[in-house]
């Protein structure tokens, strides 16, 4: 629309300077939606794009290889003992003739499922506790944050080991819950800090003055602005959960040794450290890739979701 064309002027605007805020003439930026802007900002974050690509590759391998290729990750074939790479087994076979590529894919799947599920618990509890503590303040805040301190003071691995051995080791669900209920403290603290800062913000006051209730203010007005720390907490949560699971399985307290996980693979192949180091290298590499990608992706999403971030001009 031509900006100089006289617009149908309503009341109260015809007094000064032809009724138009002169400063607004500057604003000729074409209007893009929130998600368009977010996508644009994300694409400019090169590391995040690489991380997203890496994760997508890992996820698709983890889904496709164990499920659709007909290759079996538990199948032992003694004729293939320690056999070298082939087309269907690009990473070779182990001492029982198990296809290492398929096994690694299955292990990645297990780790990602555990990481993803645990992070939902982490973010869920963290957001709930953090937002209430930060919004309410006072003794509620004190109480909840001391609870966080208590959880933080516990030796996490020991608690997880206790839960796992008590409720039956080897069960993926038990491991997920154990990691989830011990790992939410960082998320809670980050969310609380954001709520503390935004609780007194002018726009929150304005929302109150318009008659918005507490729940609406928390969920609709503060939480979206707290997206940044939330995404960071989630990214760190994924990385942490995957590593914790690997550690548990490495120690033999994670999922059962016959199932594939990055930790069980590391455990099993640690004896080949000198003779066949690549067997340790592969799961370690996947672990590193998952952790790094998760945090870079988190960074990128955080920056993309912040509407105040400017689009870098080319």
């Amino acid at each position: 629309m031509d900006r100089t064309e006289p617009v149908d002027r309503p009341i109260g605007t015809t007094t000064v300077a032809g009724g138009r805020d002169a400063e607004d003439e500057v604003d000729l930026i074409p209007i893009r939606t929130y998600w368009q802007l977010a996508r644009q900002r994300f694409i400019q974050h090169r590391l995040a794009v690489i991380a997203l690509f890496t994760l997508l590759v890992l996820v698709s391998i983890a889904i496709v290889v164990p499920t659709f290729t007909g290759l079996e990750y538990r199948l032992t074939d003694l004729t293939e003992r320690n056999a070298g790479p082939t087309l269907t087994a690009p990473l070779g076979h182990d001492e029982l003739g198990v296809n290492l590529f398929v096994r690694l894919a299955k292990a990645t799947q297990t780790s990602l499922i555990i990481g993803g599920a645990a992070v939902m618990i982490i973010v869920g509890i963290g957001t709930f506790v953090g937002s209430i503590a930060g919004y309410a303040g006072g003794w509620v805040d004190n109480l909840l944050m001391r609870l966080v301190d208590i959880v933080l003071s516990l030796p996490v691995l020991f608690i997880i080991l206790m839960i796992v051995s008590f409720f039956g080791g080897g069960d993926v669900r038990v491991i997920i819950i154990a990691i989830g209920i011990t790992g939410w403290t960082l998320a809670a603290r980050l969310i609380r800090a954001e709520f503390l800062a935004l609780r007194g913000a002018d726009f929150v006051q304005a929302a109150k003055a318009l008659g918005a209730g507490h729940r609406r203010i928390i969920t609709r007005h503060i939480l979206p602005s707290a997206m940044a720390p939330l995404v960071v907490a989630a990214a760190l949560g994924v990385a942490d959960s995957v590593v914790t699971e690997a550690a548990l399985s490495f120690l033999g307290f994670g999922i059962s040794a016959t199932e594939a996980s990055l930790g069980t693979m590391l455990n099993k192949f640690s004896i080949y450290f000198y003779s066949a180091p690549e067997r340790i290298l592969y799961p370690s590499l996947v672990l590193v890739l998952i952790v790094l990608s998760a945090s870079f992706l988190g960074d990128g999403i955080r920056d993309a979701l912040d509407p105040r971030q400017r689009i870098a001009s080319k």
Partner: protein
């Protein structure tokens, strides 16, 4: 409870809001009494920290710790808001009483479009669906004079200028047709030409919607432009109250006179601009007697006793020992010592 008089919208009776800080109690609002009638614009003037904004926040019950409304009544159409439940109060906010704030740059939520935020205000108080609320938002943007409202509604606050954002705030506040609009320094953060536009807009909307405005400002120029009646506040107390004409032409209270003298005027040759000597007293350590005595050119020994609220003329009251004619009181006659702090009830009676 008294029955409200016809046309009486809001009445504050002896409102007291105190802040309990570590250093002591701050009486931010200390016995404020005034009323607003339907369609009337009441100006509330005073220096920074005199309790103007706190009075407004108290009306909406938005005072947060460590502050608390410790006494008095806020009667909206004769019903005391202080006795409302939280749910009832939420329905008053934004529906019967709306508020616009000083800082248009930060009073809009940065993560929602302007249209979304106005639509939300509508949805909070009316049974409308999303589409109807959005249509109303666009209509309100048009009403507050934003060109291309349909396009602008989809923009984020950071894509708009200060003047535009204040218009959006006004659109939000008026979207539910409130009976009273509380405007807390609505033009302070804007530059002068935009100020004039916003004031013009508020006037036009006042006529159209037949709403009352409580206009909080330290800018007497804005008061002269907008207000029917004026309340001058100092140290949490009402110092003088009269219609706008009287305040400007025949002020009684020395504080009001001081404020008026410190406005620069075009075409007037003066060596120096007059200022009120001294600073606002420390709210934690207020003087006894008259709060203004240390800065007052008329200060007398009797000012160590809290001054009475006197009727200077019909509808014109002033908190000062000076007689209605502006002369020092003759002890024993005009100023019996027991006349000290008069009840706020009396203040109301005198104003009528």
């Amino acid at each position: 409870m008294t029955t409200p008089q016809a046309g009486q919208l809001l009445e504050l009776r002896d409102l007291r809001t105190h802040f309990y800080t570590q250093d002591g109690t701050v009486r931010a609002v200390d016995g404020v009494t005034f009323e607003i009638r339907d369609g009337q614009t009441l100006g509330v003037v005073g220096e920074s920290g005199c309790g103007k904004s706190i009075t407004a926040m108290s009306v909406l019950r938005l005072i947060e710790r460590p502050g608390r409304v410790v006494g008095g009544q806020v009667l909206l159409r004769g019903k005391d808001l202080m006795e409302y439940s939280d749910t009832e109060m939420r329905d008053v906010r934004g529906n019967q009483i709306s508020m616009i704030f000083q800082e248009p740059m930060t009073s809009l939520n940065p993560v929602y479009t302007c249209g979304d935020q106005i639509a939300e205000a509508v949805e909070l108080h009316e049974a409308v669906n999303r589409r109807q609320a959005w249509a109303r938002a666009v209509e309100m943007l048009a009403q507050v004079g934003i060109p291309e409202p349909a396009r602008r509604a989809k923009q984020f606050p950071h894509q708009m200028s200060g003047g535009m954002r204040q218009r959006v705030m006004i659109a939000m506040a008026l979207s539910t047709n409130p009976e009273l609009l509380i405007a807390d320094e609505p033009t302070t953060a804007l530059d002068v030409t935009i100020q004039a536009q916003i004031l013009e807009l508020m006037k036009a909307l006042r006529e159209r919607n037949k709403m009352a405005i409580m206009l909080i400002t330290h800018d007497l120029g804005v008061i002269a432009e907008m207000a029917d009646e004026v309340v001058v506040m100092y140290g949490g107390k009402v110092m003088e109250r009269a219609d706008a004409m009287t305040i400007f032409e025949r002020p009684h209270n020395p504080y009001t006179k001081g404020l008026l003298a410190s406005i620069p005027r075009l075409g007037e040759k003066r060596e120096r601009l007059e200022v009120i000597q001294g600073v606002v007293p420390n709210p934690l350590n207020l003087p006894t007697g008259c709060l203004f005595k240390r800065r007052c050119p008329y200060a007398m020994p009797v000012c160590d006793t809290a001054p009475p609220v006197r009727q200077v003329a019909p509808g014109h009251v002033s908190r000062c020992w000076l007689t209605p004619a502006g002369e020092p009181p003759r002890i024993g006659e005009d100023a019996p010592p027991e006349l000290a702090e008069e009840s706020a009830q009396e203040l109301t009676v005198m104003a009528r």
